[in-house]
Symmetry: D2
Subunit: 280 residues, 4 copies
């Protein structure tokens, strides 16, 4: 199903700045892009390239002498998510994890898995299959953390959220990732576009690696796994910020849209006992 995506950002430049943008959708085996367009106010310097081991796409912009910068991005993305039954997925111990999953076992800026070990074990260690653990983590967060915009900020981390019990998609994902890693399940941050969100915005979810496959979960339940388009993969939001500014700029407006004709989110019952892979 093709998703029509657009993002429009408009900034006032207070001092000449460099911006790293990370809002381009990724082209992957299961995510095909067409009609991609990226425009930016004339007069800036801009280059686009991948970083982070070739995965994420960045645009680096030098505002040069401009006082206002407007950015528009649009693309059509077709995705091919697939669902697996939990019992189809093997447990793979750390001893046999594929190597590229190993970095996702370690704590990161917003996911202090090293300080959550005892809590994660008490809450989830009785669940036997790691994929069921990841699903239980996602459910626990949905049930125990309140989705409340403006209660957290860019410094909020999993260690805060587990006690303060409020946050937004980013905080939900960070806590889930921290719990997974504390249980020796590699987990990573997913940033992307999500179809039919009530308040359209950039979205964040998490992926857990079980049986050397990466399963996607949204602990906010604001999106459906068949409505997600990937922008970036990272250890946490520090790897996948949609805009990082070196200098001084003010965001004046932002408009994000992701739509599809006849989109049907997967129901809770369709997902019962299953988990979804975005990539093979």
């Amino acid at each position: 199903m093709p998703f029509h995506i657009s993002a429009e950002l408009s900034y006032t430049v207070l001092h000449r700045s460099t911006v790293l943008l990370n809002l381009h959708a990724l082209s992957t085996p299961n995510q095909t892009l067409t009609d991609e367009s990226f425009t930016i106010t004339e007069g800036v310097t801009c280059e686009c390239f991948p970083i982070e081991a070739g995965e994420n796409r960045y645009a680096r912009i030098d505002t040069c002498g401009l006082k206002r910068v407007a950015i528009t991005y649009s693309v059509t993305a077709e995705t091919r998510p697939s669902a697996r039954h939990l019992h189809e997925i093997d447990r793979v111990p750390v001893a046999r994890l594929e190597r590229r999953a190993l970095p996702y076992l370690y704590p990161s800026r917003y996911c202090q898995s090293d300080r959550l070990g005892r809590l994660a074990a008490k809450q989830f260690a009785h669940i036997r299959h790691p994929l069921a653990q990841a699903a239980a983590i996602s459910d626990w967060i949905f049930e125990n953390i309140d989705y409340l915009p403006a209660t957290t900020d860019s410094g909020t981390s999993a260690f805060d959220t587990v006690t303060q019990r409020a946050g937004v998609c980013r905080d939900f994902a960070h806590l889930a990732i921290a719990f997974c890693r504390a249980l020796s399940i590699p987990a990573r941050y997913f940033s992307g576009y999500a179809c039919q969100m009530e308040f359209p915005d950039f979205h964040a979810c998490f992926e857990a690696c079980v049986g050397n496959q990466w399963f996607i979960f949204d602990p906010t339940r604001l999106s459906s796994p068949n409505g997600l388009v990937r922008i970036a993969t990272g250890r946490d939001a520090a790897d996948a910020s949609f805009a990082t500014i070196f200098g001084s700029m003010r965001l004046d407006s932002m408009k994000v849209s992701c739509t599809a004709v006849d989109f049907q989110p997967l129901s809770r019952s369709e997902l019962e006992g299953k988990a979804v892979l975005l990539e093979p």
Copy 2:
């Protein structure tokens, strides 16, 4: 100058465990390895491989049924560090940083540069050249943080150290990295062996990227830059832990040694106005 390195680790296995070891020296353009030997108690499963975008070398060990595991590593490493005068090095703004340095601008688990911006600016922004800033950061840490083993633990981060003012090499490096990134200087963690340390152990320093070159600093002043052999490069200690245990093992003994015949550490006056590159 050839450095003779050895490390011996001995563990009691409490429950079958998987260990990720990161104590092999790296082979790089400026670091040549000979006579490398890695042995481990027979009966374990062990594989050696690089991770983190091909940089660091890991050994993954499954203890299988063993109750005790002993590991010995030895190697002879020849390094070719070189010094540059500060005035030889150009200032390169973020807009022209080489792409692989960009990930080192972001905060990480132990280096919360996002919360240190105002402090870093007050302390170091008046220094004009970023390489002089990095040197000033290293000096400030040496002068203001007490080197005190056993006052910190594996959860201690730069945000704690800047206030608590005590720690070990790892804490010194984390604070330096956080300050650099807060000033938009890419900075990374260096773990390695150091010649002629008074209490031989694994050592940690930091590298700052200026003019698209990586300069090494040791804010503890326990090592000399011409006496360092690199094991790993990372965002912080989470990327370069010498041993990560999944399961339950107890470290019974550890012996690290790094020696060279006729080694002369660089004096403070030889380093005056200069900084050292380990790699070209």
Copy 3:
């Protein structure tokens, strides 16, 4: 000099609530009150009384069935601050501190002096007289912390502020208190009204106990010590919050005023080498 003080608060009651108000000025040997008036919307239950060992004055209000509550307070307060030369004040060691100062040596919610010991010693231990230390602490905070409304919240403590380097009067006072206690100088929180503040509001300062006398300092430099009227004394803002709500109410408006005819703030030069006592 008589200060004319008024405070007006207006709340919407979302659920029946109990409020503890702490905005009455104190009557003390050096602070005389006249023409005091406290009115509140009819229909609430209200009692006024001192707590905290007889020091601070509280009004406890039960909103009963009301949906809106308005509070007005006014008073005329005459104060008699006095200045002392630093050399007039003896150093009194902890061994001879008066007993009622001892509780102000311990850490409190927002003043984690127990974690700031090393930093305080490095920064201020070279200053010999404790009153000069307290003055230096006040100056250091003025110079190193940015007065920036809306960068902190009610959870911000000295441990955060010393690194984040921004805050409001409450944060400035907390950090000063924590530094003093870390140097074994008893220190306490002062909440009050301040004459001629550019943006009139409840104000916070700190008092340091030297020679068994309590000297007042305002690290924000927004007030002058001869323009202060005391509401409360406490370990930190947890003891001196102007309003604590049990239930759910929304503050709709707040207006604070403190004026005096012909008020002249003490100049920096008049205060040179001196410190001010509000009470004998």
Copy 4:
């Protein structure tokens, strides 16, 4: 029942120091002291007095020129705890709390109730009676926090413990107090001697104020409420530290003992549906 209590402390003085000791048992309506003895190495200056609004007893010691200081304390204490059925105790809202309980509603150094509100509400707000809430908090802590000496230190607070899930009696009490206050139940720290502890030491519990009476709970379950002798009452351990040192001393040995002939701890079934008051 008379408890025979003794405490012996022995210190090496590194630099002349002042010590505030808080290990004398309190004399209260329900706690009668006989045969009290307090001795200290000759040559120090020592005075004994109450602080904190007349409640706790302190000994202030100046080590003068001594290099070693030994302290011995012994007393016989008779207590008269009494049990109440939960249904005998009225719910008293904040609007009718006795005034001296009000300070125990606010957050303190180690009990950040202001950051635990949402979590406390989710976990305990469905329980209707505040005394049942306090009992549930004590049980929850016993079940969810591991009693593990040496995993925490004097800087550990409730905000850490709720996530890290390990600690000692002090940490257990801090978390309980923070939860109670977050639910608008006044709660305070109890330090004392406890009969028949497996590893005799100073002990900490908490008291919750319901119906304007203070009920004692021990979330570690290491003591029984009929085996407790009160030393001090405070907001948290900052108010009730058994020894605070200004200067530099090393604790060489400590021996605490609290015994009674034929002591029978109350069983869980005797306590079912009840709570215990130490004072009327």
